[in-house]
């Protein structure tokens, strides 16, 4: 992001501007803060007190323990980590290989291949699941962790574009120098292109990571069995057994939000740029 623009002085405008910013911040934060308060209350407090009242004991983490064990959150985090690891690695390799092949080689089918990737961007994944389900089922992958991994890997066109944009900025002379030293295409890709693509890899890892961590639809459709819960589906199951136990539901909700918050605080800049780059392609 570039430097902020010079500020202009007038009297009333700044006050109103800040007022609108504070109002918007409250709209964002209050619903989240209330859920955090609720997660620290006992069930008696939830039943008797108002939603906005503070908890009696600010260090009452009992609900977190309950949510974590009864909500099977540990295995949910484990499953999500597994899916994240494999689908992100896969996406990075698939996307960078595609970009390398398309950008560094001349072959006759180049345009049709690019067209295939382009047209696929127009097909929203939401619409095709009815039929995708049959394909996944045909491979015998229904109710396995590999179904989401493959789907996340195989339907990510955005990352292909991020890599393509970036690889164009890497001078071909580097490839050529390596070729003269006797390196083959695979070595050039692995030793030269991939390391130089680091910033693009970071962008893809962030976008993909957040998308996969938050996705509900695919795990919900393809992994209904309880031990295969991801954080989204495990949290969704709080609706049943915990009924109206808002203190437990809130604790589970906060458990899911905290990792996102931590990642966001550490990687803010990259996240903004990543999403801006990913969306506008």
């Amino acid at each position: 992001m570039t430097a902020p623009l010079p500020v202009r002085r007038s009297r009333l405008a700044p006050a109103l501007t800040y007022l609108s910013l504070v109002a918007a911040s409250l709209v964002v934060l209050v619903p989240l803060a209330v859920v955090f308060l609720t997660s620290l209350k006992t069930s008696r407090e939830v039943a008797e007190g108002g939603a906005l009242s503070p908890p009696e004991n600010w260090l009452n983490f009992a609900n977190y323990a309950t949510a974590f064990t009864d909500g099977k959150m540990l295995s949910a985090f484990g499953n999500t980590a597994f899916i994240l690891l494999f689908s992100i690695t896969g996406t990075v390799l698939i996307g960078s290989m595609t970009a390398y092949a398309v950008d560094r080689f001349d072959f006759r089918a180049k345009r049709p291949v690019m067209a295939l990737f382009l047209v696929a961007t127009l097909v929203p994944g939401v619409t095709t699941q009815v039929a995708t389900f049959q394909v996944v089922n045909g491979f015998g992958l229904f109710n396995s962790l590999w179904a989401p991994v493959l789907l996340y890997m195989g339907t990510d066109i955005v990352s292909v574009y991020v890599f393509l944009q970036f690889i164009r900025g890497i001078p071909v002379s580097l490839d050529e120098a390596a070729r003269l030293d006797g390196a083959n295409a695979l070595t050039v890709y692995w030793r030269i292109i991939l390391p130089l693509l680091k910033p693009a890899v970071a962008t893809v890892v962030i976008i993909k990571g957040i998308t996969v961590y938050n996705d509900f639809y695919i795990p919900f459709l393809y992994m209904p069995s309880e031990e295969l819960g991801t954080i989204s589906t495990a949290l969704f199951r709080f609706k049943g057994p915990f009924g109206a136990h808002w203190e437990h539901i809130s604790a589970g909700t906060i458990l899911v939000i905290v990792p996102t918050l931590v990642v966001f605080l550490f990687l803010q800049r990259y996240i903004y740029n990543g999403f801006a780059r990913g969306a506008t392609k």
């Binding site: 290989m97 390398y100 071909v172």
Partner: protein
């Protein structure tokens, strides 16, 4: 998804048009058999293409085929029924009604774009706590959808966050926010505004900040007001991004699934097109009908995209 992706198709990468020094093919690799050399790109493309075809093109093809059958998704036999499924979608009002729910989300998207535009403009100026506000506004976009669903279930429930806040202001309301269709859909669309404004905001902010600063300086010297600056510098400069956001808004409004499914399960008239399709396919085993519905949705989204490209060809607005 803008036109730029077309024009930037790698088929014409300008820096490659210069003839390579040796005048031969660009690859200086020692010729180790032309066959191997011609196969090299395909070795890299094999896995990506296999995945792309398996998980995008095969499903789309199958979906179109299923949509002309009465298949239940399980049984080995299915019979072709022609356009019967499509006729049902067009004539059975209960299948058709879900499109009206999208209007709530479409209205929400309009609100979202306006809010995002306002805050992006405001925060492109030098303000105190600029980064803090930016972070707060963007954060909801990163939060897990199920978590958002629960946060707002508590927000809207009787005696929940919203009722308590209203009680503070002395307007104690005793209404079930998710109790009747109009109010429930408005509430859910409101959640969608809360969730997605941040993305639009960051996109707009990025576009505004890529406008050269000297334009503003020149405008300042000419005594342009803030409004005039917005009107003549910012607005034209971010038109492409706004166009993209409109497309995303329309296709997003048609394919809403998560928030209503998590919060109400589609009860009280909040069923969206995708919730209905999922239920048809996976609860009622009407794969044929669900496929036809999905094909209709896909066609609408393609049509919208095409119209948008007709209306706003991606003109790079040259201000300088």
């Amino acid at each position: 998804m803008t036109e730029t992706t077309d024009t930037a198709a790698p088929a014409k990468v300008p820096r490659r048009t210069a003839a390579p020094p040796r005048g031969g093919p660009r690859r200086p690799a020692p010729p180790r058999g032309t066959l191997l050399r011609r196969l090299t790109p395909w070795l890299f493309l094999a896995a990506p293409l296999a995945l792309l075809i398996t998980f995008t093109y095969v499903p789309v093809g199958n979906m179109v085929y299923y949509s002309f059958t009465d298949w239940d998704g399980v049984s080995p036999d299915r019979s072709l029924t022609g356009f019967d499924n499509y006729v049902q979608i067009a004539t059975r009002p209960e299948l058709f009604r879900v499109f009206f729910v999208s209007l709530y989300y479409l209205a929400a998207s309009a609100v979202q774009i306006v809010i995002a535009l306002y805050f992006a403009t405001v925060l492109s100026w030098n303000l105190r706590f600029r980064n803090l506000f930016k972070g707060i506004l963007f954060f909801p976009y990163l939060v897990n959808g199920v978590a958002i669903g629960f946060v707002f279930l508590y927000f809207f429930q009787d005696g929940g966050t919203l009722d308590s806040i209203l009680a503070w202001f002395g307007t104690g309301s005793d209404r079930a926010w998710l109790g009747d269709p109009a109010s429930a859909n408005t509430s859910l669309a409101g959640v969608s505004v809360w969730r997605f404004t941040g993305l639009n905001f960051v996109l707009f902010l990025g576009a505004i900040q890529s406008i050269p600063a000297e334009l503003y300086e020149a405008a300042e010297l000419d005594g342009a007001t803030r409004w005039q600056q917005f009107r003549h510098i910012i607005a034209p400069g971010i038109r492409p991004v706004v166009g993209l956001s409109v497309i995303l808004a329309i296709s997003g409004s048609l394919s809403v699934f998560e928030i209503p499914y998590i919060m109400t399960g589609g009860a009280t008239g909040t069923t969206t097109f995708v919730i209905q399709t999922v239920k048809l396919a996976f609860q009622f085993n009407k794969t044929g009908l669900a496929s036809a519905a999905a094909v209709v949705l896909l066609l609408i989204i393609l049509l919208v995209t095409w119209i948008q490209r007709r209306i706003t060809p991606d003109e790079r607005v040259d201000l300088v």
